[in-house]
Chain length 675, copies 2
Amino acid sequence: MEAKKANILSPNSLGQNVNPDLDIERKNNSFSIEHLTNILDGGTNNTKLRREVEAVLEADPEFSQENLYFQNQNERYESAVRKTVYLSQKMAKMGWTVDGPEQNLCFKFLSDDLAFNIHVVFMKSILALGTDEQISKWIPLANKIFIIGTYAQTELGHGSNLRGLETTATFDVATQEFIINTPTFSAMKWWPGDLGRTATHAVVFAQLYLKGRCYGMHPFIVQIRSLRDHSPGQGITVGDIGPKMGFENIDNGFLILKNVRVPRENMLAKFSQVLPDGQYKKQGSEKINYFTMIVIRVNILRSSVIPCLMKACTIAIRYSVVRRQSELKPGDPEAKILDYQTQQQKLFPQLATAYAFHFICDYLQDTFQKCYNQTKEGKFDLLPELHALAAGIKVITTDYCTAGVEVCRRACGGHGYSLLSGLPSIYTKVVPSCTYEGENTVLLLQTARFLIKCYGMAQMGQPLPSSVAYFSSVNFGKCQAQEKMDFLNPDIYTDAYKHRALRFTRNAAMKLQQLVQAGKTQYEAWNQCTVQLARAAMAHSHYIVVQKFTEELEKHAKESAIWRILKNLCDLFALHGIFSNAGDFMQDAYFSTEQIDRVTETYLDLLTVIRRDAVPLVDAFDFSDARLNSALGSYDGHVYQRLYEWAKKSPTNHQDDRVFKTYLKPLFQNALSKL
Amino acid sequence: MEAKKANILSPNSLGQNVNPDLDIERKNNSFSIEHLTNILDGGTNNTKLRREVEAVLEADPEFSQENLYFQNQNERYESAVRKTVYLSQKMAKMGWTVDGPEQNLCFKFLSDDLAFNIHVVFMKSILALGTDEQISKWIPLANKIFIIGTYAQTELGHGSNLRGLETTATFDVATQEFIINTPTFSAMKWWPGDLGRTATHAVVFAQLYLKGRCYGMHPFIVQIRSLRDHSPGQGITVGDIGPKMGFENIDNGFLILKNVRVPRENMLAKFSQVLPDGQYKKQGSEKINYFTMIVIRVNILRSSVIPCLMKACTIAIRYSVVRRQSELKPGDPEAKILDYQTQQQKLFPQLATAYAFHFICDYLQDTFQKCYNQTKEGKFDLLPELHALAAGIKVITTDYCTAGVEVCRRACGGHGYSLLSGLPSIYTKVVPSCTYEGENTVLLLQTARFLIKCYGMAQMGQPLPSSVAYFSSVNFGKCQAQEKMDFLNPDIYTDAYKHRALRFTRNAAMKLQQLVQAGKTQYEAWNQCTVQLARAAMAHSHYIVVQKFTEELEKHAKESAIWRILKNLCDLFALHGIFSNAGDFMQDAYFSTEQIDRVTETYLDLLTVIRRDAVPLVDAFDFSDARLNSALGSYDGHVYQRLYEWAKKSPTNHQDDRVFKTYLKPLFQNALSKL
């Protein structure tokens, strides 16, 4: 217990050695950490490249995150702009290309510290929706950051329902211009990143009006600020929406447009254009654009959401072998808190979840690629399945990662509330993912609509998309597992997840049908089933994650140590899901009380199996101390010294004595004569 | 739809009228809002007094919270000190006495804005642990804030396990002083409020050493800063622990003591003293002190934790009748989001939970009083039950309120992430309650220990404490309910909760016994059962809350409208618990699949019943706009205007153009010639 024995007056020992309580955890792992890291990176070359890029960034003091937790919103914004501009120079110097693998690694490493995030979306939308002329006019400028754009879609009163957006763009034949307006308070653009204090241009989504008729939502490039002095253009009111939970580095903004005129050629016109005489012309299919959204979703999961859970696990598990509290047995030294069953039950399912979601991204990526290839040949039949999958997996991933991060944070006791632990900012980073890029409840119901449709197809004996092929199983009967070991059989638990998802889908479908037969409209009936529909979609997505994790195992069948540890994680993920949702699995007596009791025992036994490899399993995520930026989670485990060293730098310790002189001294002097 | 029609250029209409979408919700309530408010306040006189005090505070610009969300930690601290000093002057002027009902109302109203919170605990600990001489020396000074104290118990390495604290106090007979030391890094005092930048004194808990022998933890009054210039005393290092999730108004601190000497009379000596020759003398029983902790817990639940959930419900439910999104039926105007079943399923259980917990506090208070009266007569036999109850109810209340606040916040979509919604700061206020005043897992296991003991007594046919009297029921058999309506019978669902709690307790007790019989030590066996023990304690606490809610109903049997609405809430709370934990209730086939399906239907039907009264039910909490401090939740429902008006005041909109000039202008000028 080096940390505890250290003399308080001795020189700072940080970085010199590893806390023995943590060190010993790395002496007994059942598998090669480096090998697992390579698997997570997708190959040794990727690990190598990642480490090279990270080393470059870490060695550069411009990218230091040292004072991050002490900065206010204005300071975070300024620092993000500075770092982003500097990064583009650095990349040029390093020969790292735009959109190359190094850039992605930089973004992943520095994400909370960068600005101009939506500028990227601005560019992607021009590339996707613009004509060749529009692309060649705007993209070179945007690529070099000579202009900065934002994507102004969401309004104060409208997020999920895009058709309800209220901003208008009315074509004026006389001047060949669109007149763009914010007709109501709720129509104000609200939330777009980079809009508040940065962007010079915006892709503004507005209802297109031609000769009094509305043609629906269309995108327009609008210059909103002067390139010369940054002042807002005529008729434009623009600003920052103020303080938020998280995202302090980003200037989310508002935008009001009053008779703002943009030339006809500023409507992004790849799929529809307005002719000089005000005629509307549609061309091509926008379906292909749908892929942009899916790509964005997968990227967010992989580079932003899942790493949050991995980081939180790393911090909480390392801390839990350094923190000692109470005796497990009277007279013994205080125990590592990770040796308590309750602490294992909090943290290990999160660890298993992080691995499960890592592998599901690979699957989603593959499915995406297959679908994209088909689409290029003009076939769109995989699209509904891809949408349902991507939506459901986005929901379960963001929902579980968010809950998991908070479990990890709270498992660190009081210190989990200190920003210096890194955990609060991981939470505020991950939780918005439940809302942005498709609100989770809205997405679940989209997945549910696909499931209901497929359930109907199954009833009629039609062929089914592969992810729902199990709908054609007539009857699952009851679970056949008897012994505890049976529940470690992937077929057993995968079948259980299938049964649960199908049961929920069938229930919802039957209820829908009954309500309609009883005279309700389709819409009323649908609304009255949405709680159950959302559950069905969640159960289906859960099944997919379990199923794909078991398939991942097969890829490692020949690497027995890696296979075994991944198998343990897969089992833990699956059994934790049954343990936590036992009622779902006991429907139709699929599991009996005795079987659920055995699942519980098998699950609890797994916790002690994972215990041995817990630290190696988080080490395999291979986060550098700089990337974790946590006083609790560093590789060397000197948590108490680090908390103290960092706290001393807090601005709250470097204030003048104004508060004392103004408010306290006049009170305290009354006690002087008495003490 | 006033809000939507308002011309964006018209003068600000805030406060002039109520948004019709919200107004109409108040025209159709099934009960008297004022009557329900009186019940919640504990009588019409209390409502009157509360409103009088709130009116005084709201009318005083010194207490304005207008810029709260824009302030950094240093500004929050300074503002809290200023307001607290001002409040004590104001109270004197108003004739409101210290510890009087008005003071409590002030604290409840201003809680996030005040400083010196732990100063109160400093005083209470002197009153509880000090001799008459010590009380008369310190309390008059502390009462007038001529000195400010803190309660320095928690250490960097020790929270829950007080016996493990490492600070030492060694008696020096020669000088008649205690020498207090922080022997290790982890022994540093860490977290105490008011310590970081304010306190002049501290009650420091340290292991008492007399002639080389340790006598355990004792409290010592230590002066830590000069009253004259606020500099730390000799051998003292003190400072602020830096940024945290929430509690920005409070200066949580660290404290290192190096050979700090305090006179013998500074050990608080009501229950044990050190004689001049270094002899140790114990006197009286400290058991009575235990009540202080229980009182603090009940007060925190009532004045701080439960109001967080009530506020979050108020904000989210009012917003959900103003926010419109998508059509329920094609062609209809966009629907209020509260009309979607999924939104009801998010918010209404939280509303029912807030009411359930409000009433459980009354019960806890009564039990406390009964127990306290007995103790004064020297009888301590109710104490273990009181402890188990208070611990379990603290856990379920803080846990559910925390989860509920976050559900409400996330139910507000993107705007729930804006600090201006008020919701993020409600979350950061409520969540630490899961950790402070007894970490929830630790407390649950204390309750579980009581349950296991009582289960053993039940097995031996001994008489049981009233809260666990149901343990003597030999067998609950199966639930007898058939029709949907049967599940609205409180006896039916209360029995189900009993069965669940007893089942979990019995399972854990049997597993404990089996493990011991198989050769495990008591301690190993206990650790291997803690996940299940914690579940048993949670299930028992859940049962108590349901049970006491049904008893509350009986008090209102003659007020049919109030009775009916409370009955709906009670049913909703109980059935939501079954719906969400179905597996627990299906154990031993207590509920069949068909019965669970019927519970689900009954539960979902209740949502539509509550819908009508949703806004009146949150209005009954009677939060003023000033107290809510939410752009989304104000009484008039003008959410979009208010978000905009407030955002404009953000410091992010009042910066100079340094960022533009330094980083952006040099880039943008490259585009000037091209656009």
